[in-house]
């Protein structure tokens, strides 16, 4: 957190929650990015992500029991794909925290957290459907919104829509 | 046309009290040696049914439901949409007769036919007035209960023959439902038969006639008769697959149940059968408990209302009105209530209606034996 800058209460709560995680995982997580709109930290060691997730869910002072949202991201400049998870502790604590996990752009893989939060199950499928990153260990890994035989991953920045799909002209 | 036949035909036409003469005259009307009179006599109820099914049944259901739901209902075809059903029938007649390729053609075609025949065969024993009765069987009631079971065969044939999973579900549900509900229905009707001491529908009706009108009806003859009356009414709803027991066609669960695959005239026939059986059970309940074609109005002193409103035409009027009343109640229930679940349906049948039917059976027997 930058020195001398006054943050709102919610950001301070998030910072306190981050401190507990940082204490446990040290360099596996990045520094805390304190900003008013969405305070977050990044998981640097992608393999530890399920462990961090479980820790966040079960630690007595964290109890991030509710995954509000998981967003797939395409960091084209960094040649990476990623997810952003908005976590919070529903009806127990007031802190909210966003977590970013990134993986390689081609064939990158992120371990699944579908068994930590059921919410992640469909969201991970959606992220795969739209961006094409793999989620290792996902219980039901398929596309969800696009048809199974759709080519490409639509939300990637360099996505080119296929010309025809089963004889149907696609770009209308 | 011979002159004697014409005279026989024309004289007693509107004379109420000599109805047997009327019907016998008509029965004796032979054109070119053919028993045309008999055919006309037998056809009158069916003509009525067809007309009723066309105009009142479907149109009435649509209008009643519309008014209950703050809607106008059909308004376009004819004044107040009165010709809507005819337009619908014309549309259905023009439609292509589709038989799914994977369907069992024989069963698929025979299903609606059996259903239709099953529901209309019972009309043979319904006395529409003291003269209009297709067949005055001495086991009329028994026959009516029995013949309704034929519908099950039609539904099963339609459902199985369609080769559609929804149809199959609908058919199986329907069979389970109708077969189960026949038990309380039959026991409840037995109470009525016990009060009458006969199974002849005409006899049951005649036993309920009298100058005091509705007082003579079996429903008011014994203090427990309302119980079998209610039981039979509820069970009859289930037998004709009406709401809240319309689970065989449950549109929100099974799309359209056993007639999912039907279209065009076959669909119309199924529809006709449904409305036919609706009137049939309504007529049975009014015959057994509400005096059939007897006028409900009593003679009050010198004002002989009962006598004034009795006669063959009046008789037909009364039984049809009573039937219509029950059909109205059926529609009223349908547009009020949600649908039961399969297990709840069975619960209602076996754990509520059947025990109560037995209780009412015993109570009626006691009443009949010990109370003169």
């Amino acid at each position: 957190m930058e020195e001398g800058k006054v943050f709102s209460q919610s950001v301070q709560q998030s910072a306190a929650a981050y401190a507990i995680i940082h204490e446990k995982f040290g360099t596996a997580v990045s520094a805390f990015d304190a900003n008013e709109t969405m305070p977050f930290f990044e998981v640097l060691d992608t393999g530890l992500w399920p462990e961090i997730a479980l820790f966040m869910r079960d630690h007595a002072k964290l109890k991030f029991n509710y995954m509000a949202c998981m967003t797939g991201m395409d960091y084209q400049a960094e040649e990476k794909l990623g997810i952003v998870c908005n976590l919070e502790s529903l009806s127990l604590f007031n802190h909210k925290l966003a977590v970013k996990v990134k993986c390689a752009r081609d064939g990158g893989s992120i371990p699944t957290v579908a068994y930590v939060w059921h919410t992640a199950n469909w969201h991970e499928r959606e992220a795969y459907d739209m961006f094409g990153m793999l989620f290792a260990g996902h219980p039901d890994f398929r596309r969800i919104l696009c048809p199974d035989d759709w080519e490409g991953f639509p939300l990637r920045k360099d996505y080119k829509v296929q010309e025809s799909y089963h004889g149907i002209k696609v770009p209308y | 046309m011979s002159s004697t036949a014409l005279s026989q035909f024309s004289i007693p036409f509107l004379m109420g009290n000599n109805l047997n003469a009327w019907s016998e005259a008509l029965a004796g009307f032979n054109l070119l040696g053919l028993p045309l009179g008999l055919v006309i006599l037998a056809a009158i109820p069916l003509v009525f049914i067809a007309l009723y099914s066309l105009t009142y049944g479907v149109y009435g259901e649509r209008k009643i439901s519309a008014f209950m739901q703050d809607r106008l209902g059909p308004m376009e075809v004819g004044k107040w949409g009165i010709l809507q059903t005819i337009a619908d029938i014309l549309k259905l007649l023009q439609k292509e007769d589709i038989v799914p390729t994977s369907a069992d053609k024989f069963l698929f075609v025979i299903g609606p036919g059996v259903l239709f025949v099953g529901s209309f065969l019972a009309y043979a024993v319904l006395p529409f007035s003291s003269a209009f009765i297709g067949a005055s069987l001495n086991v009329g009631l028994f026959y009516a209960i029995g013949i309704v079971a034929l519908e099950v065969v039609g539904i099963l044939a339609a459902g199985w023959g369609s080769n559609n999973k929804w149809s199959l579900y609908g058919a199986v549900r329907s069979v389970a439902q109708i077969v189960s509900y026949e038990i309380p229905a039959a026991i409840a009707l037995l109470c009525g038969a016990m009060m009458a001491g006969t199974l002849d529908m005409q006899q049951i009706t005649i036993l309920q006639s009298g100058s005091l009108g509705f007082v003579h009806f079996f429903l008011f003859q014994s203090p427990i008769a309302w119980l079998p009356f209610l039981i039979y009414f509820i069970a009859s709803l289930a037998e004709v697959n009406r709401a809240p027991f319309d689970i065989p066609e449950a549109e929100s669960e099974l799309v359209a149940g056993y007639f999912t695959e039907y279209s065009g005239m076959k669909f119309a026939v199924i529809f006709l059968a449904e409305y036919g059986s609706m009137f049939m059970v309504s007529a049975i309940i009014s015959i057994v408990f509400l005096g059939g074609w007897n006028s409900p109005l009593p003679n009050i002193g010198s004002l002989a209302l009962n006598d004034m409103t009795s006669g063959p035409v009046w008789g037909a009027f009364w039984i049809i009105m009573k039937g219509f009343f029950f059909i109205f109640v059926q529609m009223w229930l349908r547009w009020t209530l949600p649908r039961l679940r399969v297990d709840q349906l069975m619960y209602l049948c076996w754990k509520v209606l059947t025990p109560f039917a037995f209780v009412s059976f015993v109570l009626t027997a006691i009443w009949e034996v010990y109370v003169p």
């Binding site: 008013e36 969405m38 509710y66 919410t119 469909w122 | 669960e253 009020t336 949600p338």
Partner: protein, 400 residues
């Protein structure tokens, strides 16, 4: 004794008496059947497909298949300016367009960090709550249809029609409003609007009671829904449920209360949760009751908003709208309480463009529906219909 459940053979009990004799008892051999429910089915509320593995009437497993209504909302958003996304958000949850717009406007306003005039806030709350009532009316009415009661549905639509008329009067459109803009409103409300809304509140109260007597209190309805599809609170939270679904499981969580936005902190309303007297906490009936009670709370909110509404003098609904909407670089996740739960918008801005780099809609129905597989296990087909109805999905929002 060993119990095997092999697919297609019913349950088989294998009892080993001694080393040589094995007794195999078999229930009536039944065959499991795959039943494709939807995408064209009367009670899947749109184009949802459920592939059910059924054993007689019992559902062994139901797997939802989505995407029949996928319109790549998120890809569209990356190609249009911030204000032009508003009409697209209407089309997410088309039964409560105002609420979706509200959530989106909140998200971009947080990114822009701008102050909104108070009258705008109150009008936003009024139209959003009106739309919430309209949406719940559809939910309750279609739930009636799912369970076979057709009449309540038409009563609901009769009253919803009035709300749509009111919203059309305010915004110019009946369902897809484009009324709540980033930083303001498209127009001020018509002069008589608040009076008419007040009249609607007095009109609607007895109608809601009538609806309750006709449907909610009906014994058949209660028996059809009570104890069906029970979702315990902790599992519901883990599944990410929100809105009436979560409250139906007994968690008192309403974003208008717990993560307040707009002028909701100033307003007095209850967050109805089932107490377990009328229903089993977490079942279909609880969720239905929560929706029914929420309509009354919305009416209360509307009444308070009308009373507190600042005057229209010198009011310009577009006064706070920036000339050019180009937020500084950053990300934001803002959510609002939609009639179906938490509708969140994750927006990433690169600080240079007038188009978002990424705009993700966290759809409440999508998340709520993900529990379908668990909820439907071992239920009867009619119960499955009751469960889908109680989830109250709008496929426009599920598939986006």
């Amino acid at each position: 004794m060993q119990e095997l459940d092999t697919a297609g053979l019913g349950s088989i009990r294998v009892t080993r008496k001694n080393d040589h004799t094995v007794v195999i008892e078999k229930d009536l051999a039944t065959e499991q059947m795959v039943l494709a429910m939807g995408p064209q089915h009367p009670s899947t509320h749109g184009v949802l497909k459920l592939e059910c593995l059924t054993d007689g009437e019992v559902i062994t497993e139901a797997e939802p298949f989505l995407g029949y209504l996928h319109r790549c909302f998120e890809k569209c958003c990356e190609n249009v300016d911030y204000p032009a996304i508003v009409p697209y958000t209407d089309r997410l949850d088309y039964l409560s367009g105002m609420n979706s717009e509200f959530a989106y406007a909140l998200a971009v306003e947080k990114l822009l960090d701008i102050e909104i005039p108070r009258r705008v806030e109150f009008i936003r709350v009024i139209v959003a709550e009106l739309n919430r009532i309209a949406s719940h009316l559809v939910a309750i009415g279609t739930y009636g249809i799912d369970l076979g009661a057709f009449t309540p549905f038409l009563f609901c639509f009769r009253d919803r029609e009035i709300i749509l008329g009111l919203l059309e009067w305010a915004s110019g459109a009946r369902m897809l409003y484009n009324y709540i803009w980033i930083g303001g409103l498209a127009y001020d409300v018509p002069s008589d609007f608040l009076k008419r809304v007040g009249e609607f509140v007095t009109y609607f109260r007895p109608k809601a009671v009538e609806l309750c007597n006709l449907l909610t209190k009906n014994e058949i309805f209660v028996k059809r829904t009570i104890g069906i599809g029970i979702m315990p609170a902790d599992v519901a939270i883990n599944y990410g449920w929100s809105g009436p679904m979560l409250r139906g499981s007994g968690v008192k969580w309403d974003l208008r209360r717990n993560d307040p936005y707009s002028v909701y902190p100033e307003l007095d309303f209850n967050v109805p949760v089932p107490d377990g007297k009328l229903s089993v906490v977490g079942d279909c009936l609880s969720r239905h009751l929560v929706r029914a009670l929420e309509m009354e709370e919305s009416l209360k909110i509307i009444e308070q908003c009308i009373a507190k509404m600042p005057s229209a003098e010198g009011f310009n609904p577009r006064s706070a709208i920036p000339k050019r909407i180009r937020p500084k670089a950053g990300e934001v996740y803002v959510r609002a309480e939609n009639p179906r739960g938490e509708l969140g918008f994750y927006i990433q801005s690169d600080g240079k463009s007038t188009k978002p780099l990424r705009c993700k809609a966290r759809s409440s129905c999508f998340v709520n529906l993900s529990a379908m597989k668990d909820l439907s296990k071992g239920q009867l087909i009619p119960d499955l219909v009751a469960i889908i109805g109680s989830i109250d999905i709008v496929l426009g929002e599920v598939d986006r």
